[in-house]
Subunit: 383 residues, 4 copies
């Protein structure tokens, strides 16, 4: 008699293998699930290991295309960045992975889902909030199901972009990085590309010298990851604030994401009205927090995605940039629908613009400042 | 009979020389004023030229120390950045320069101030708002006083960090930059420095290899400018939104400011509570807008500076970083008063932290998400 | 030879009559335009007066229905309120009125529009910004066209909801109010109504005792105006901050708007997710500012209206309330799609809710607070 | 052998009496603690009951003065209001009560604190977060200590301002209210008072007819509670969003708080710069959320209190108002340091204000709108 079925997020590593074995010992049927979101992984080895350990079914799912289109692209539109620095790589992946896990659970009639994320991190939260949001009746297998004692805990957490040494004074060793070359070892000649955007989303990338082009979301993102990686772009070493209230050090590499962040910022500022941009900036900060904290599938995050997408309707054009020695340089931009007006901004052409208006503008803006000065002076005189 | 006295912000260039002559022709006494805020300028040549053109008095004022301490330092505390990219170099200088001009006008009994900034830019606004705020009765000599026709307009606006070509598609020529080397020509070996902060403000910079230290604000800032310049740090090419509502291209170099921006962000996130930081982030964005728009001397900007300074009380410690080929890399940080708790964050040490609490935390956070799902399901069933 | 055609916002009063005459004397053809947005006005008398003074054409336009549907309803959705108190009556009317004026100008080939609003108020700004936004080539006839001297200035500005006495210490005389009874003279028995909302907009109002119902936007709004007026609802006496930077006293009456404000707040909080509401609250504050400052026809206000409307998709249900002696009392509410869950909130039913989760939730929320306490204690010990 | 000492927040009611007995049975020493924050309670009866049930020590503490000065006054300065309607009565009391409980626990060497608040409400959170923040090592007696089964749960929760019926359709019975008369039964003649503020805090209240004055914080607050209660001011029936994510109905009465809210809003808008006010408004909203959610003793709330207090430095003057039939009417205000300038705002006096400046101001503000229109037109032409 089975106690029920568990869909386990399985990495093939020691920790989730232990959980698999333990769950079976406790009388559960276990379905393992491994998502391919672009990480460097031996998926077939993981499949074999899961089967050999008694998994009733093994799902290995290629989510790369939907990850880029449905999760990374909205984050690019939002200029998503956590605490001014972190481009949210792992955070974006989590709801994508958990969504598919929940779909499998529903489809296979499983009442339980489980995972190997530890209790102090953000990933557990991101995972579980997604599960509860999409499958409210599900039981999540931490606490209820998984062992607390007597099982070896994971030794080497393997996460593609997220390495967390505890000592803050030590500089991070360069071999932590998997996707990016060290800027010091990167090429001495820049690569220049042009990224074409439509509705705030990249639709084509062109290598300006080689003429290479990429046009599908997955190809574009992979190409920029490769290009950024080659030039050592997107490495950061930060201290961040976790949702559960502690500070932790994070060392991340986001090569493609960093290029896209800069390119999108540029085309957005170029094509979007100043005040729309200002409102959207706040929405993007809020969106980034929600993403970091695991609330992708929340009513407010859905609302924000809608609003942000709306703001992107006219964000189209091309940005030219170079990547070189760890840095992204914006070189120029053009757009069919830009609000940039060469004649208007020119110092040589007067056109419709009357300098007298500027004086009036300034004087009216000064009304309040002068009143404030008057009041302060009066207050001083009274003393 | 003099029509009155004008204090003219005088650069020694063609444009303000024309204004000087014209003002005298109109019957005004002219006092010229030139501020030294660290730009590369032949101050003595400017003095001689002003005198030869009939200036009644010539003021050349070294404002460098007060510029760094009273204007740049608060901006560092605020992580001031306009539209996510521009570090506000010129914007910060303007109220400092205009404040002294107003002081001179009051002290010399001048009813007028004048300047050479053109009618489409931000600098006119920043200048005039400061004048009105600090000397409400002053007449500003654009419109009233200065010539509109028949005077050659300035040909080569010379601004230390601000170069504005009109064509957006063209890449900016490298010789625009005055303070920074091209990253491609910069050294192949990084320099590593440690910046010590107290109350959110740098108090010492140490070159880690050479042992050089700087400890006064002006020395620290000059040294970082030099260091950043040597490594090509802080060049940007952006389109920005001017206060008067048009978009313009700006090509800026802010070598020292860029290093300080990254270093301060790091020490701040390391030492400041997450939620205080979040509130302060919004205040900093607002502060940056005010700075850009010329409202340094406004009640709201004064209020924000007070609040931001308050938030910096515990922002102390040291940040180690390297500068290399146009980029700043944070290497590590330490602080006597950090909220970082190695034991708490460690995955190996359980300590006081109970994983069960995390499950409860997640479940309570999910209450709202599950309710939302319930409602959506009910809504679908009704249809 | 005519100098061109002016469309003049004409009230029939002394001031705009003077402008009409003066414009004709200067050689312009004048088309007068008077909008009916529900104010108490003798429209036919105004028509005759305009004709007798030489207007080439007279437009009297009934904008009441579009005013309610296209301008008031979005403001209700936004909970629009300026500086926490002012329900923005006049501000909402202005873009509606100016839009039609611009349409007439375009249709009649007029190059000019003009109005009688004075230079210190908000209405001039609201009027002119709308004109420039919708008809950028238009010339607005203040400064260019209208007389500055030698014409009697308006003596009794007549504005339906906006009365501005200058003395702040004096209490406003009760006869200032046109739409509302004094609460002291209002009925001693409340009226109770039920307002039904769909997508955040009222679709039916029912008098609970009398059974009267209203179902068109204009009928609903007029009925609530009448009902609120009868009970003295919606009178305020405030000091407000004008866009041009001065403070002014405003005494307003907004009977129907006040009822709708309270009813909408109630149904919105009842049906909207907490965090969506929080984001939308900020958008509504921003929207209110834009409205007050005259930016209805701006890209950012359009963007906000879209986002706010999106937030209202599930805001449906019925609110019961009573109006009595100047106050609105919410009595109860119901909704088919509420997030309110009687079982979940009940103290007697445990259901799915585990009190242990609350303890975990609290403890995790306290992690940060305890760390802060630890740091403060350490800092004290060092001293 | 005692298992340790518990300080129990004891109300004298059935529920906390049960907890007391049960704790003793489990082997704990129990100290009871009852705070007087102005509620209607028989404190001596509670003392006797606690003693008779075996309390080792009984603390009955009069916190009324510190409650008003240290907790209510900062909330008045903040215009604290939750979700636009709830004046946060209970929320403000909780940290005041818990702070004293923690002080007693430390002073008496107690390792435990306990309370009778149930697991679904906000009060448990507010209580426990305060305890953890001020005494991080404390154990809170829910879960660990208190009985989960076999003990009668509280039947009639008695809370001064907070009554929670579950049925939303039913109108709240009038006898729920303890402090306020029904507006229908309240006097037919208004009372008029003048409230004098200094630094945003009331320092004197004067009955305009009777001449009565109150000058201590506690007297002022008590008097306004009485006055508001007499006129039925401050009753609300709302649905609110609890911190734990569920919606609940709350029926509150806050007579004195409502009067102070309106009076403070008025004097603040009168004396504070527009833009400072705008920033402070956001801070106040954030402060209100923190207060509601129990974070009074958090670094961010402390920071906000500091910033808000700073904003109040010039908030001084007198507000005259009347209370009548459930409503507060502002009648007038005066201030020695107001930014209100009669001459500046007057339509009759031109003074220093040039209408031309307003035209320039408007035209510059329209630059952006016209550019937007141009772009939209171009986009349409392309289609």
């Amino acid at each position: 008699m089975s106690k029920g079925t568990v869909v386990l997020a399985y990495s093939g590593g020691l920790d989730t293998s232990c959980i698999l074995v333990w769950l079976k010992e406790q009388g559960y049927d276990v379905i393992t699930y491994l998502a391919n979101i672009g990480q460097d992984e031996d998926f077939e080895a993981a499949r074999k290991k899961a089967e050999s350990l008694g998994a009733k079914k093994v799902f290995i799912e290629d989510l790369r295309a939907e990850f880029v289109e449905e999760f990374i692209w909205p984050s690019v539109q939002a200029n998503a960045i956590y605490e001014d620095r972190y481009l949210l790589g792992t955070s974006i992946a989590r709801p994508c992975i958990a969504r598919r896990q929940v779909q499998i659970a529903k489809q296979e009639g499983a009442q339980y889902v489980s995972h190997g994320a530890t209790g102090k991190g953000n990933d557990q939260i991101r995972f579980e909030l997604t599960c509860y949001a999409l499958y409210p009746e599900v039981k999540v297998g931490t606490g209820h199901l998984t062992p607390k004692h007597g099982i070896p805990v994971p030794v080497t957490p393997k996460a593609p972009w997220n390495i967390t040494p505890q000592k803050l004074k030590n500089h991070a060793p360069s071999d932590l990085f998997l996707m990016t070359k060290s800027p010091e070892d990167s090429p001495n000649v820049p690569d220049m590309v042009e990224i074409k955007f439509n509705k705030g989303v990249p639709v084509m990338v062109t290598h300006l010298k080689e003429g290479t082009t990429k046009t599908t979301p997955l190809d574009i993102f992979s190409y920029l990851n490769e290009l950024g990686g080659k030039h050592g772009v997107g490495r950061i070493d930060i201290v961040e604030n976790r949702f559960i209230g502690m500070k932790s050090r994070g060392i991340y590499e986001t090569p493609g994401g960093t290029i896209l962040y800069h390119a999108h910022l540029d085309i957005e500022t170029f094509t979007m009205d100043r005040e729309v941009r200002r409102i959207k900036q706040d929405l993007g900060i809020k969106f980034s927090e929600l993403l970091y904290n695991g609330f992708w599938y929340s009513p407010e995050c859905k609302f924000l995605r809608h609003c942000i997408a709306k703001s992107q309707e006219n964000v189209e054009g091309k940005v030219q940039l170079s990547v070189f020695k760890g840095h992204v340089y914006i070189l120029g931009r053009e757009s069919p629908g830009s609000l940039y007006n060469e004649e208007l901004v020119s110092m040589d052409v007067q056109g419709d613009y009357d300098p007298c208006d500027a004086s009036g503008f300034i004087k009216i803006n000064a009304v309040r400042l002068r009143e404030h000065h008057r009041m302060e002076r009066e207050a001083q005189l009274k003393q």
